[in-house]
């Protein structure tokens, strides 16, 4: 308890940055669930492919694990290219997964359980495929941003990397939310989520909306992937597994199907994990996360915000 109080603000900053990454990945689960009522377990690998996309882009620009990027403008350039590569890799992967794994099942009106098993199969196939291709060891990211303390938040030091992660996540989520509310295609997605038959009667092409949903979820995961690479500095074939489970937890915690719920769930999970492991020891980090989930669901079975993507008012 003493440790928690002494390091409260430090833990808060760490929790918020980790939570930002959870939240971005959680959006992918929540989007797909909102439209298809399907838990896309392959989403963790969509994220994993994004980390490799970012890594290959950085290496392709001549960086390696020992490089030192000194100028700020160069760093920004590298980051933009790597972020685009990650978003493209994850987005395309997500769309392909939908086409190859789920659409044929939808055409045959397969039962829900078949979708679930297919999702798990797709997840395993992709991570094992990367294990065979890249090996099972960590691959190091070049250091593009050297974390430097920018300012003190109470007694916690906030680095440039913390700021970048938090702001990127918030901007990406805000853009997604605006897209859903303001654009024609975004409304098509909401219509399918609220009432698929009525949406078809309005002239919404359901398959196109579903592809779009996977693409958007993939792009968000790609954003998370580059941020993850910057923060943790390594990736490998199973990097998505635990993160995917955590992000899914965050989505459920916030209210699955609800975009803003993913943000709140992600940040809440990041904070709870860090506070919790400060109290009972960091080896209990994951246990704390799941106990919190169970307790929240006992009192609010539909999560903190608890409305579906479709019904989300604003």
């Amino acid at each position: 308890m003493d440790f928690l109080l002494k390091n409260f603000w430090e833990l808060t900053v760490t929790g918020l940055t980790q939570g930002s990454i959870y939240a971005l990945v959680a959006l992918g689960y929540t989007l797909v669930y909102g439209v298809l009522r399907l838990i896309n377990f392959a989403h963790s690998e969509v994220f994993m492919v994004g980390t490799f996309g970012a890594l290959f882009a950085l290496e392709g620009m001549g960086l390696n694990a020992n490089s030192d990027v000194t100028s700020a403008s160069a760093a920004i350039g590298y980051l933009i290219v790597a972020a685009l590569a990650a978003a493209a890799a994850s987005g395309v992967t997500a769309v392909i997964v939908e086409r190859v794994a789920y659409r044929p099942l939808r055409r045959r009106n397969a039962p829900t359980l078949v979708f679930l098993i297919t999702a798990i199969g797709a997840s395993l196939a992709m991570s094992e495929g990367f294990a065979i291709w890249r090996g099972r060891d960590n691959e190091a990211f070049p250091t593009v941003i050297d974390p430097k303390t920018q300012f003190k938040f109470f007694d916690a030091s906030v680095s440039n990397l913390d700021i970048l992660i938090f702001l990127t996540a918030i901007v990406m989520m805000f853009s997604l939310d605006t897209f859903m509310r303001r654009t024609r295609l975004g409304r098509g997605v909401r219509a399918v989520a609220q009432d698929p038959d009525s949406a078809a009667l309005m002239g919404v092409n359901k398959n196109r909306v579903i592809s779009l949903t996977f693409l958007l979820g993939g792009i968000m995961a790609g954003g998370a992937a580059i941020l993850y690479g910057l923060r943790f500095g390594v990736t490998k074939y199973d990097v998505g597994f635990l993160l995917g489970v955590k992000a899914f937890t965050a989505a459920v915690l916030g209210g699955i199907g609800n975009l803003r719920g993913a943000l709140i769930g992600g940040l809440a999970l990041g904070l709870v994990e860090n506070y919790g492991s400060a109290i009972v020891g960091s080896q209990w980090r994951d246990v704390v996360a799941y106990v919190t989930l169970v307790v929240v669901l006992m009192f609010r079975p539909t999560g903190i915000l608890g409305e579906s993507l479709g019904k989300a008012r604003a």
Partner: protein, 238 residues
């Protein structure tokens, strides 16, 4: 013929819901389809809108075979439906629901679009008052108005109406049927499915009676209103 259905079979799994249904709707008509619960009326409309696959038979719209056309493209061709149970988007407000009705239109910034919008609000002044209210919080009658108004926003050539009187108070039923006639007079062809046979037949140019998946009778609205068998089965007159 604007819409021609011939010899249509539709199955739900192994159960046959439609058996060789043939029906036609001419430009400018109000055609009514009456029948008891479970006769297959809703199934027919779902098949016409492309929400149900057809096993046999053809659907022709403006001379073009659309039997296996995708649902969203039928809206583009000019077939619009106000479904049974209304199918309002509960998390969108009245304005957004109406805008969804125009989803397939390419001219959403045009004058014609605004005129259609005003026309719908003119037909249903209640919707104008409730513009910012969410679909899920409207009364049954208001939802019915919204679902019809929304279907009109695509500027359909034919409007499919599935039981617009369902669950409404008698006074409101009158009002809805009057509006249906008004829509028809403004130039939209209407295929109306109803259990309220009295109202539906008295306003229809032509009508069909459906029983257990087949058409068993057809004629003008007036003729069927006077038909003794129809009277006994659907009008509650012995």
């Amino acid at each position: 013929m604007l819409l021609e259905i011939s010899d249509l079979d539709v199955y739900y799994g192994r159960i046959q819901a439609l058996r060789g249904v043939s029906l036609s709707v001419d430009d400018g008509e109000i055609v009514t389809l009456i029948g008891a619960n479970g006769a297959g009326k809703t199934t027919l409309l779902r098949a016409l809108s492309g929400l149900r696959a057809v096993s046999r038979g053809t659907v022709t719209f403006e001379g073009k075979d659309i039997t296996h056309e995708r649902a969203d493209l039928r809206v583009v061709h000019g077939i619009s439906q106000a479904p049974e149970g209304r199918g309002i988007f509960p998390g969108m407000n009245v304005q957004e629901n109406l805008e969804m009705g125009a989803y397939s239109r390419k001219d959403r910034k045009s004058k014609a679009y605004r005129e259609d919008f005003d026309r719908v609000l003119g037909l249903f002044p209640r919707l104008a008052e409730r513009r910012r209210q969410f679909g899920g919080t409207l009364s049954g009658g208001e939802q019915q108005m919204l679902t019809i108004g929304r279907a009109l926003m695509s500027r359909p050539k034919v409007l499919l109406l599935d039981e617009p009187s369902m669950g409404l108070a008698p006074k409101l039923i009158q009002q809805i049927f009057t509006i249906v006639e008004e829509i028809n007079q403004q130039g939209t062809t209407v295929l109306l499915v109803e259990q309220n046979a009295q109202q539906a037949l008295s306003r229809a140019h032509r009508a069909y009676v459906m029983e257990t998946g087949s058409i068993v009778k057809e004629g003008t609205g007036k003729a069927l209103l006077a038909d003794p068998a129809v009277k006994e089965a659907y009008l509650g007159v012995a």
